[in-house]
């Protein structure tokens, strides 16, 4: 059986790992390569490196850092931030990235998902969606690191991304991110029922129980978190042992 994945997310700014609360108040927490290698050793199933300021400041992605990461790490990793054209993705693939994640650029130009999927294969293309809860089942998709709401709605956009060839959805709830009160399980489960591609849940992890809930009630395929790992609030081996003990399929 396929194991549920635990994914530490390293937000990168100026070559350093950072983590903000609700995408603001950015603090530095360490060297991305060192931290990534440490997590891989600890049993992380994958890593995500997001250049969080890339879109906002119009910077292109961090190919050199990706090369260093690829040299030192023996598990898969996804990179995102500032990818708006095929050639950006191509440079990252050649630098050693296993998957790329596109977010704002896909919202602005949905054809980008189709083009990426056609060119590199769906498996290479993660569509990241940052969304904010409106009411009931309505969520608005935001862009530019959560700064700008759009007229796109979460579930319709996730479905469109799948139909255009996205291999995976990385859904971050802006309402849950950094709050540490658990993931957006209801929306995640709805998305999981609606789509047939894997869903990475992001935003809200504060305890080991939250991961159990996201894999059961939230029906997520992977759970992503940042600060709880960076600040050593939860150690990955402890988390994975706990999940195994409560009956979740997990790689130890």
């Amino acid at each position: 059986m396929l194991a549920k994945r635990i994914i530490p997310c390293l937000d990168i700014k100026n070559g350093q790992t950072v983590k903000g609360i609700k995408f603001l108040e950015i603090k530095e927490v360490g060297d991305p390569v060192e931290l990534g290698a440490f997590y891989a050793e600890q049993g992380a199933d994958e890593l995500v490196f997001l250049d969080i300021t890339a879109t906002h400041e119009g910077r292109k992605t961090f190919v050199d850092l990706v090369k260093r990461i690829a040299k030192n790490i023996n598990i898969p990793f996804t990179v995102g931030g500032g990818i708006s054209e095929l050639k950006d993705a191509d440079a990252l693939l050649n630098a050693g990235a296993d998957k790329i994640s596109i977010n704002s650029s896909a919202v602005k130009n949905p054809q980008l998902i189709s083009d990426m999927a056609e060119h590199f294969g769906s498996q290479f293309v993660v569509t990241a969606i940052d969304a904010k809860h409106l009411h009931g089942n309505e969520w608005t998709v935001t862009v530019n690191g959560g700064r700008i709401p759009t007229d796109k709605r979460l579930f319709a956009w996730a479905k469109e991304a799948e139909e255009r060839g996205a291999g995976e959805i990385l859904f971050t709830s802006m309402d849950h991110d950094g709050v540490k009160q658990g993931f957006a399980n209801e929306a995640l489960a709805k998305m999981s029922d609606l789509l047939s591609i894997p869903i990475i849940a992001s935003g809200g992890a504060g305890s080991m129980e939250h991961f159990k809930e996201v894999f059961t009630a939230g029906k997520a395929d992977a759970g992503l978190a940042a600060s709880i790992f960076h600040y050593k609030e939860i150690a990955i081996p402890d988390l994975k042992n706990y999940l195994k003990n409560v009956g979740i399929e997990i790689r130890l």
């Binding site: 059986m1 396929l2 194991a3 549920k4 994945r5 891989a40 199933d45 994958e46 090369k67 690829a70 040299k71 023996n74 598990i75 898969p76 693939l93 050649n94 630098a95 050693g96 296993d98 998957k99 056609e118 060119h119 590199f120 294969g121 769906s122 498996q123 290479f124 291999g167 995976e168 999981s192 029922d193 789509l195 047939s196 591609i197 894997p198 869903i199 029906k219 395929d221 992977a222 790689r251």
Partner: protein
């Protein structure tokens, strides 16, 4: 002979063997080429990434990695003549992911004829109906390999997790050397003569993957 001298001699032999052994990674229009190269380097070996027929034919080991789409990749490999070269290789060849699928006879991905090294068809995973466990396609993440056979596996990794990313699969058959269960039991590795293939990515499968790559490089 004093044991220290033996150790030194063995080390020197090993070093010479490593440095004289030529491993090539086939360069083509798509592929996680650098990842495979990095993994080989982490094991202490060297490899050259090349599309030059002469270097490929003369290499001791050939790795044919893969991320990409079957039809486009086959077009490219046919046009460049690399396809014919790969088919005729006599040294150990390791196809990875798409590389493995292209070594089969046909892929449903774009309905394309492939190298026909393994007389197997590559099919798309169909989601179970109904699907109460929310099974997804692609098959993405860590899953177990079992019933291991052949020269690149050993009993120490029976049942271990390795990393997969794929939407198409090869059924189990005479060439199957590893089986994985996802929707159905299928071939996660194949072997025929000097041709080896893994559906999973050993270069991304942590220590277990390193063991498999190392077994291949030591053949």
């Amino acid at each position: 002979m004093p044991s220290q001298k033996v150790d030194t001699l063995l080390a020197r032999n090993r070093k010479e063997r490593f440095s004289s052994m030529k491993t090539v990674i086939i360069k083509y229009n798509a592929g996680n080429i650098r990842s495979v190269n990095n993994a080989i380097h982490r094991l202490g070996y060297k490899a050259e990434i090349t599309a030059e027929p002469d270097k490929i034919v003369k290499a001791d080991k050939v790795i044919f990695p893969g991320v990409g789409e079957a039809t486009k990749t086959m077009d490219y490999l046919n046009k460049t003549g690399l396809g014919n070269i790969i088919k005729e290789l006599k040294q150990p060849v390791l196809g990875i992911c798409l590389g493995m699928q292209l070594m089969c006879s046909h892929s449903e991905e774009g309905d394309v004829a492939c190298f026909d090294i393994f007389a197997e068809k590559v099919k798309k995973f169909n989601l179970p109906i109904p699907n109460p466990d929310n099974i997804k396609v692609p098959h993405m993440g860590w899953n177990r390999i079992h019933d291991l056979k052949g020269d690149i596996f050993d009993s120490s990794i029976e049942g271990e997790y390795v990393y997969f990313v794929h939407s198409y699969f090869v059924a189990t058959g005479v060439h199957t050397t590893a089986t994985t269960d996802y929707i159905l039991p299928y071939s996660s590795a194949l072997q025929k003569d000097n041709f080896f293939a893994t559906q999973f990515h050993p270069e991304k499968s942590g220590k277990v993957g390193e063991k498999i790559l190392s077994n291949f490089l030591k053949l």
